[in-house]
Structures are given as structure tokens and as C-alpha cells.
Symmetry: C2
């Protein structure tokens, strides 16, 4: 493969001139610039990105670290994040931690080694990892890590309010709120707190239960939900994430509980699958494209060493479906 010296020789100029001509940097005589470009094309010359990255000390790569891209919400997030990163000239590296903590610190290593210009992270992290991240161009998605690390999240407080209002209007008297437990403080927990607060204020019985562990497989989620439904048989309303909402629907059918007559289910996330399956789950939709865009914009600022805010909140909205009335 031709290198810059081959082009310089063929064009009868110095390599500096070739570099300037091809990068539109510095001064190059107009005609000469054309000639150099033509010759570069003839030689099928591609500047070695490896060399450019090395000399410029940036890789053009951004890492996205998430629990499991096969979960609909994360898959959607990655899609839009990659799209936005591409728009501003970055390539996207993915890392599915699948609950393996080492993968997070490995990705931090990549930043230190220069392989990554920045990172968007949405997984559990340890105290040490938070310390390391403080000096790095990192944006946290959903997790409250430290004041030095900007966080982008949905307006989960509003989400909790919408859910509470809906369950109340649906006449529920005995609501189960189902969420995952994380090692790292997740902003989404506010949706649970807020929903619970409002419901209890109205004299509605609330049972908040946790699915233990940030990373789970579907069969395990179903099993957990099945057990909870056995334990709390008088439940007439459920508030949980979309994936879990479908598991609840499945379990309800198995038990002969008719939804929405006997049981209302309110989902969270607004995954596309909630719209294409009957019944459509009533759900509170996060604005994934905007979440992704915001993460990328904030990260770009961090990389450019510009000032960024500590928190960014993205609105949510209710999507009516057939699991409430």
C-alpha cells in the first residue's frame, strides 16, 4: 500500500506538502494541490489511520459500555448513539459487560492507553472505577457517579408521577412496583420512589420489590416475577419495565388473571416491541434518540474540555395501551 512518501515522490514534492494538500491545512499552491490529490487517488493512497492516530494522540473512537445490547432498551440506545457519534466523526466501540466488572476497568484501561477518546457508560461501577473516571472524558448514562462526571438521564421523577396518576385513576388499591437493584445509584430509582410516595399519599397499598442483580436473563426474570405474584396475590396494579411487564402479562394469563380488568400493568421504557404486540403495553416512554444525542453532545464537550452541566434530564411521555383502562 502506497504511503505518503510514494505520493510525494510521484508528485515531485515534499511529504509536508502532500500532508498539507490532503488535509487542507497550511498553504499549498492551488494547482499543486489538485495534482497531489489526483496522484494520491491514482496510487489509491489511504493515509494510515494508525499513524495519524499515533501522531495526533487521538483514536477517533468512543466506547459505549452497557450491560447487554440484546436488551431492547440498550439496543435502541446503542443504535442512536452510534448514529450520533458517526455524525461528528467518531467510531463506536461496544462493550457488553454482562455483569462482569472487569470489562469496565478494561475499558478504562483503553482510555488510559489512548485507544479511546471517550466513553459513555451505563453499568454498575465500583468506587475505584469512579475515581479513575473522574479525570477522564466520560459521560454517565442513568447512573449518579460523582459531581465531576456528567449524567444524562430521563426525567424519571416525572415518569413516576405519570405512573402513579394512571394507576390511581385506574382504581388500583394494591400496587406492586418492580425494579432491578443496582450496586451503583441509578437515577431511575426515582421513578419508583416518586410513584410510591404519591400512591401511598392517596392511601394506596404499595409493595416495592426488587429483582436482584443488574444483569439477568429472561427466564430468570420470569421466575422471579412468578414468585412475587404468588407472594402478593391481591395485587391489582403493577409498575415495571417493559420487558418485565410482558413477563407479568404472561404470568397473569397462566393464572387466569384478566388484564386489564383484574390487573393493570404500566410499563416503563417504551420499547418498540410494546407497540407491535397485542395487547400493547401501556408504558412510559423514554426518548431514546434524544438521550443518545445528549450523551454524545455532552461527551463531545468533555473531550473538547468545555464546561458541561452536572445533570441533563430528558422528558418522558405516556403511551396508552391495552394493559390499563
Amino acid at each position: 500500500m502506497a504511503n505518503i512518501r510514494d505520493v510525494a515522490r510521484a508528485a515531485g514534492v515534499g511529504i509536508g506538502t502532500v500532508s498539507r494538500a490532503l488535509n487542507d491545512s497550511g498553504y499549498v499552491e492551488a494547482g499543486k494541490k489538485e495534482k497531489i490529490r489526483r496522484i494520491a487517488k491514482e496510487l489509491n493512497y489511504r493515509p494510515s489511520e494508525l499513524s495519524r492516530s499515533f501522531v495526533q494522540k487521538k483514536s477517533g473512537l468512543v466506547g459505549i459500555v452497557l450491560p447487554d445490547v440484546a436488551f431492547p432498551f440498550y439496543g435502541a440506545f446503542l443504535k442512536y448513539a452510534e448514529l450520533e457519534l458517526n455524525h461528528i466523526g467518531y467510531k463506536t466501540l461496544v462493550c457488553n459487560t454482562l455483569g462482569v466488572q472487569k470489562r469496565v476497568s478494561d475499558t478504562l484501561d483503553l482510555i488510559e492507553a489512548g485507544s479511546l477518546d471517550g466513553m459513555i457508560i451505563n453499568t454498575d461501577v465500583t468506587r475505584e472505577e469512579i475515581e479513575r473516571m473522574k479525570g477522564m472524558p466520560v459521560v454517565s448514562f442513568e447512573r449518579v457517579l460523582a459531581k465531576e462526571i456528567p449524567m444524562v438521564a430521563s426525567d424519571h421523577i416525572k415518569g413516576g408521577q405519570i405512573a402513579a396518576k394512571l394507576l390511581k385513576e385506574n382504581g388500583c388499591k394494591n400496587v406492586m412496583i418492580l425494579g432491578a437493584r443496582f450496586a451503583t445509584k441509578v437515577h431511575a430509582e426515582n421513578r419508583i420512589k416518586e410513584c410510591r410516595r404519591i400512591l401511598e399519599q392517596s392511601g394506596i397499598q404499595v409493595t416495592a420489590v426488587e429483582i436482584n442483580g443488574a444483569f439477568l436473563s429472561y427466564p430468570f426474570i420470569e421466575e422471579m416475577i412468578s414468585q412475587y405474584l404468588d407472594m402478593y396475590s391481591r395485587i391489582d396494579g403493577i409498575f415495571t419495565e417493559d420487558v418485565e411487564a410482558y413477563c407479568c402479562l404472561m404470568q397473569a394469563k397462566k393464572r387466569g388473571i384478566y388484564v386489564p380488568r383484574d390487573l393493570k400493568i404500566v410499563g416503563y421504557d417504551g420499547n418498540e416491541m410494546t407497540r407491535m404486540i397485542d395487547p400493547q403495553v401501556t408504558t412510559i416512554a423514554q426518548d431514546v434518540p434524544l438521550l443518545a444525542r445528549t450523551c454524545v453532545e455532552v461527551l463531545a464537550k468533555k473531550i473538547a474540555k468545555e464546561k458541561v452541566d452536572a445533570h441533563y434530564y430528558i422528558p418522558v411521555k405516556l403511551l396508552q395501551g391495552g394493559t390499563t383502562v
Copy 2:
């Protein structure tokens, strides 16, 4: 950040010795090796990957190019592929083409520029792109591109046979087979051909229809299916991909068609969501983990310039659900 020279100075040795000590290459006196390692750690030294990549002419990055990671099948594939690549020391770059052809050639550029050591591709490609790929470490997933480019795919012929047998046994007389149309020859088309051949041989009426375009959004898929169901109202069996199968279920309900009594639906792919939603779709499952592992193994061989086969076929298997009897 400390560089190799700082470590060498602090340890009172030459940089060559540091390099050998840290990489376990060549000879270094045992005690000295320990000392160098200790000092490197004290200085919090991380070798610049940018420099190492540059000098070794490999990036350690593999690109995965697919239509849209938010689709369940691709999301699952990416998950397992990333996992397998990580096992053998590669990082994973994602590229969602979303139907934009330029993104494919951009990724090819990355290989030429050295940013990518190899690529797994599962999108439409042009003739020119195929030509370019012939000399590159590329594995095609599902697409028949050229004899120089190894392909990994499910055993779709067997898949078509399983579907045909099932629809026949279910007593269907009028089957619709629904598939997407691609610009590039997709091996999965064989499942349609084979299913059709067998059904017609048994005197069953078959209508094969296409969803036009390789990349589509859910609402558009629903609209297409709705139209097809209007056009072919006497259909009593459908064979299509899982996502489309759910759209068919939805449309059937809207029309008061009872599944499986009046209409049998056989899905394809075996997405996890087909197991967690009621009714579970009867589907022919691809072995995504094995597909991903095979792609990665074959790619590793290609990168190492070892011989590889032209085609690799992965078994499929039937998952019974509630959309057939």
C-alpha cells in the same frame, strides 16, 4: 502520563529491556523483570496502544456491520460476537448501516487505513464493495458474496423443511410466506424456496410475498402486513420472521381471526421475546451464539491468513409455541 523512557530511566535500564520485560518477549533477567514491572506499576505506566498499534500495524479492532442493532436478531448477534471477540483479544466496533450504503464503504476504508483488522458483515453490499472485500479479512454473515469471502449462515434449507412439515401437519391449505427482499443474495432465501417447494409438492397453495427493502421500521412492517392480509384473505398459514410474526398476530386479532384455530403462524429466528410473550410464537430458532462464534473463529483464521472453507452452516431447531397446534 509516563512513557517507556520514564520507566527505563527510573529502573536504570534501556527501553528495549523494559519492552521485553513488560511483554514477556526475549530474554530479561528474572529479578530485573520484577523490578521493571514494579516500577512501571508505581509510575502508573500504560503503554500507549496508539503507538503499539502503529508499530505493529494492527489495531486489535474488528468491525461488525449490520443493518440495525435495535432489531432483536442483530442485537443478539452483536452481543455474542462481541463476547467471542473479547475472548480472543479483539475490541469490537459497531456500524449500523440503517440502509445507508456509504457506511459500508466507509468501513472498508477503515480496513484499508489500518483502523480495523477485520470485519464481519451482514448488510447489502454493492458489486464494487464485493470486489474490494475480496482481498480483505472479511467474513460474510448470511450473504453469499463471492467464493473468496467465507460465509457463515444457518442451515436455512433445513429451516424451510421444518416449517413446511409443520404447516402441512397443521392442515394448512393456503400458506403465505413473507420475507424481506435484499439487493445482495441472502442465504436465508433458501428457507423460503425450500418451504415453498415442499408445500407445493403436497398440493398446498403458496403465496410468497416480499417486504420491499432490507431495512424497515416496525410501523411500516405492520402496514405492509396489513395490506397483504387484506389481499390474501383466505390464508390459513403464515411463515415469516419473528418480528413480522408478531405483527401478523396483531393484525389477526384486529380482524377477529383466531390464532391458531383459523390461522397458524410459524416464526423464524427464535428471538428471546418469542418465549416471554403470550402466545409464544412457534418459531424456528437460529443458534445465535454458535453463529457468532463461528463468524469470529473464521475471521480469526482469515486474519491469520489460514485456509478457511467457503461456507459454514449452523443447525436450526424448532421451538413449539401457541401459534400452531
